[in-house]
Amino acid sequence: MRLNLRTRTRCRLTAFPALTAALLMGTGAAAAAVLGLATSAHAAQESTISVSPKVVAAGQAVRISGSAPISGCPADDDAILTATEALFPEAGFGPHVPRDSSGAFSVSYTVPTSTPPGVYRIGFRCGGGNVGVSARLRVTGQVGTVPSGGVATGAGGADRFGAGQWAGVGLGCLALAAILVPVRRRLARQLR
């Protein structure tokens, strides 16, 4: 089935090259202008898919855009996004996205917070077959770089001036006093 779809698409495109190209270039340019897709007019002849941004934290949204020529998959047919279950929990199938008259589609998708960090390939089906193109999406944790271990927020500390320090001060005072005692004695002698 899948192979058949692709083969048929190719055949049709080569059968009427001039006409198809002219048609698709026109509609493709319009679609690109309207949807802001980064597809060239030429790319509209082939199936495309892209994802933006290419790196995202779990729980954030990405925009997935693409197109499949209406010659291969009628414009009425939705694009059904595919990836692994980690990204699309319903058996690996994502949103069913309506396509415009040129065969282009665009959808916002929120990556589940359950999606583990990693690289995912997003493809799509159209008209019952897998279209055979994919886009890479890198998913990171919400905390992109997870710090290791505990946090050193006690560098000061409550005991900085604790027992040891007080004992030092005490002994210091007594030592000073001991130094002064002979001084005092000498003073007393001189006064006599």
Partner: protein, 235 residues
């Protein structure tokens, strides 16, 4: 040389006083060392144990009535929508009298979370969500400096229901409500619970706690306050 009764007697009196004073101070300091080694100004212990771990969405036990005034009224139903990424600039925790600017924090070369150089300000972790974004935003601050209590000295006394406000550069204020307070030995820091993905905007406030080890000059534990976004205000 020295005339009796004049300058010499005065000098002698001064030296007498000094000796007496020094002996007094010395004895007092030694007594303080013997009695006061229990660090009278150490950080308070965690009041609310980690045991009560409410599932997200369940109403947490409210704080003391005196703090109820802080709490914005909230309709239990609708959690606010997540905020766009915006640099946090100020942290306010009325329940413990905290109002501080925020400095950016990264990771140290050993992979640990950086801490603010200034003991009087807290810092936010830049390699994670900003407060109000989906995910666990992290703010860390010191508990104590060599000169006395630091910005998060009383963090461990926060209780479920207390309110934490984070003002951001885009003039929005993310309002969080504490739902749990935990204390863990640093060696058993719950990395997954603190930094792991969550479904909604949350906040983690981290400081030190537990007994102080004079030899390593550090606290044994970390105190972590867990809060979730309950409202968004305009600055």
């Amino acid at each position: 040389m020295i005339p009796p009764g004049g300058r010499g007697a005065a000098l002698r009196r001064i030296v007498d006083t000094a000796i007496l004073g020094l002996v007094g101070c010395g004895v007092a300091a030694l007594a303080f060392a013997a009695l006061g080694s229990g660090s009278p100004d150490g950080p308070p212990a965690v009041e609310v144990a980690d045991a009560a771990w409410p599932a997200p969405g369940t109403a947490s036990a409210g704080g003391p009535a005196s703090r109820a005034a802080d709490q914005p009224s909230r309709s239990a139903a609708a959690a606010p929508e997540a905020l766009p990424r915006s640099v946090p600039v100020e942290l306010r925790i009325p329940a413990i009298g905290v109002r501080t600017g925020l400095v950016p924090l990264g990771v140290e070369s050993d992979g640990g979370l950086q801490v603010p150089a200034d003991f009087a300000v807290a810092g936010w972790y830049t390699l994670g969500p900003t407060p109000g974004e989906v995910g666990p935003a992290v703010i860390a601050g010191h508990v104590h400096s060599q000169r006395g209590p630091a910005v998060f000295f009383r963090l461990s006394t926060l209780r479920p229901g207390d309110v934490v406000r984070v003002a951001e550069q885009d003039d929005l204020v993310a309002v969080f409500e504490v739902y749990a307070v935990g204390e863990y030995p640093k060696a058993a820091f719950p990395t997954g619970r603190v930094y792991g993905n969550v479904d909604s905007p949350e906040l983690r406030l981290i400081t030190c706690g537990g007994p102080f080890d004079a030899r390593s000059r550090s606290y044994r534990d970390n105190v972590v306050v867990y809060a979730r976004l309950i409202a968004v205000e305009r600055a």
